[in-house]
């Protein structure tokens, strides 16, 4: 099971256009909404109304500042599982719960056989896997496997929830193994690229780079954001804070 298929019939994946993503987080919440009731249910949130809210989400959108001064720009950067062709997250799994589907290349976790050892999350360079502390198993993007083949849905809804939700059309879904598919053409036309190609995992998902800025005359400089310190609460945290102080002397 954790051996990778020699080849996959299709290579279903996403193409994400960094030029038009506005960082609205709509795909993030739509993903959470669908998947907390779908294949990955539940996607537990810990301490949701408290001081330290966190939980399992399958899609995250970062905001980066790139470049300096007038050449600088803000890039909103969605990050989720890239459904790699040769991923280590699958082969390191000791139970066979983590697997890559032969028919369409989707990487999934079987929640009934996952032991929650978290080794797959260590093997992933993209931070795509998030452990559900409450459910005790690893959660990850399923490419909405329970939507894309679902004949009970309207055909236009048979795409991943994030793609359906994106108000700017920055997310595209299709077969990247077919060179004639719309997504493959998009990748060719726009110079789509892999994240960390040197690591050799051959991600299926591609990113389309931001286009060159047309007008830089109105650029504004922004100060570095101040970092906030988390409150130390548990005894172990206080011990390490103490050790931190002692060792810093």
């Amino acid at each position: 099971m954790t051996s990778l298929p020699k080849s996959t019939g299709k290579k279903l994946g996403l193409v994400i256009d960094l030029d038009i993503c506005v960082g609205c987080q709509g795909c993030v919440t739509s993903c959470k909404e669908w998947n907390t009731g779908g294949y990955s249910a539940p996607l537990t949130d810990e301490d949701p109304y408290g001081a330290d809210p966190h939980g399992a989400w399958l899609n995250r959108v970062h905001g980066y500042e790139v470049g300096e001064g007038a050449e600088g720009r803000t890039v909103h950067f969605p990050r989720s599982c890239l459904h790699c062709d040769t991923p280590d997250c699958v082969t390191v799994c000791p139970t066979g719960a983590s697997y890559k589907r032969e028919e369409d290349g989707i990487v999934l976790v079987n929640p009934d056989t996952c032991i929650g050892c978290k080794l797959c999350s260590w093997a992933c360079p993209y931070g795509a896997r998030e452990y559900d502390y409450d459910d005790g198993v690893m959660k990850k993007c399923t490419l909405c496997v329970d939507r894309i083949y679902n004949e009970n849905l309207d055909p236009r809804d048979r795409v991943p929830a994030c793609v359906r939700a994106c108000p700017t059309g920055a997310r595209h879904f299709g077969d990247l193994g077919d060179p004639e598919s719309e997504v493959s053409q998009l990748v060719r036309d726009r110079g789509g690229y892999d994240l960390l190609p040197e690591m050799g995992y051959r991600p299926v998902n591609k990113y389309l780079p931001p286009r060159e800025a047309r007008d830089v005359s109105s650029a504004v400089l922004i100060d570095e954001p101040a970092t906030t310190k988390n409150e130390k609460t548990s005894a172990a945290d206080r011990f390490f804070a103490w050790a931190d102080q002692v060792l810093s002397r």
């Binding site: 470049g67 990050r79 929650g116 260590w122 360079p125 040197e198 931001p210």
Partner: protein, 315 residues
């Protein structure tokens, strides 16, 4: 990487247990110790206690410990699975060898074969433990050729310290066992120091620019985090205290883990007014503290590539 106590205890305790198991077996096979049933009984009991506590502790950090048996199935690709299979397999020849020792069925070729098989299985098991970490390309400080052999050498060195304690308590200690501990501890120390130097001089090959693919537009700086408090990825892989205090803690690891145990083992060679078991206890307690610091650092110092998405420039 977040240094989980369960995994630190697992790797250190089971390592020392397999070290003692292998060295005690070798000592018995080569007639370096008397084949006294109670020496054997105690020695194997202590080894199995360390190994079993370690293995059980490794299941504490599982989300579903009751499914742990499934981990024996994927030995074709997974070093974690191989480690599990070998850990269980090692109980068989070593257990039969231990029974032979206790009931005085020693001397035959079957007993010798079981003994040597147990030694090889113990080494392979610890090697598999090391490979769980060494096989991860995402963590530069782990994906190094030194890591798995270092696990084996540290297991042997800590096992030798335990063997000295056992032999001094039973009054069967001989200079060879003190020398074994000194040589193993000294070589483990030098190997570990060489690893630290190599890990620091090794160039970081991944950048935030490559991770996001945005390096072509200039320096990539994290501006808006995707979540307001740390998520699982940051909790598990964003640990930093270790790197800040690495130098101090490395010194403590060397002093407690190697220098004091070596000095205490050397005292056993000299005629000291203090009882020999006392020096062996000093070596064991100090070694335990040192090796726990060493293992804590192994995790805490390791930088995961995913931190590039969260503001680190290089990994």
């Amino acid at each position: 990487m977040h240094p989980a106590y369960s995994v630190i205890l697992f790797t250190t305790a089971s390592g020392a247990g397999y070290g003692l198991l292998a060295l005690l077996s070798i000592a018995g096979l080569l007639n370096l110790v008397p084949l006294d049933p109670w020496l054997g009984f105690t020695g194997f009991l202590v080894s199995y206690a360390f190994i079993t506590i370690g293995l059980l502790s490794s299941t504490f950090h599982l989300g579903h410990p009751e499914r742990a048996w499934r981990a024996f199935s994927q030995w074709r690709t997974s070093w974690l699975s191989r480690e599990g299979v070998m850990a269980i397999a090692t109980y068989v020849p070593t257990g039969m060898f231990a029974l032979g020792w206790f009931f005085d069925w020693t001397g035959g070729w079957v007993w010798a074969l079981l003994g040597w098989l147990g030694v090889v299985f113990s080494i392979v098991t610890v090697y598999c433990t090391g490979m769980i970490y060494a096989s991860l390309k995402t963590i530069r400080q782990w994906h190094m050729p030194q890591v798995a052999p270092l696990y084996v050498l540290l297991a042997a060195a800590t096992g030798a310290v335990l063997l000295n304690l056992l032999l001094t308590v039973f009054g069967d200690a001989r200079p060879w066992s003190f020398w074994t501990a000194i040589v193993l501890l000294a070589s483990a120390m030098l190997f570990k120091m060489q690893y630290w130097v190599a890990a620091e001089t090794d160039s970081k090959s991944h950048t935030a620019g490559r991770a996001t693919g945005l390096g072509r537009f200039g320096k990539v700086r994290a501006f808006e985090p995707p979540h307001s408090t740390p998520n699982f990825v940051m909790r598990e892989m964003g640990h930093r205290v270790g790197r800040k205090h690495a130098r101090t803690l490395r010194t403590l690891a060397v002093v407690f883990g190697f220098a004091i145990p070596i000095a205490a083992s050397a005292m056993l060679l000299l005629s000291s007014p203090l009882p020999s078991w006392l020096w062996a206890t000093v070596a064991t307690v100090s070694g335990a503290i040192g090796i726990l610091i060493e293992r804590w650092l192994f995790f805490a110092e390791a930088q995961h590539v995913v931190t590039l998405f969260y503001g680190e420039q290089e990994a």
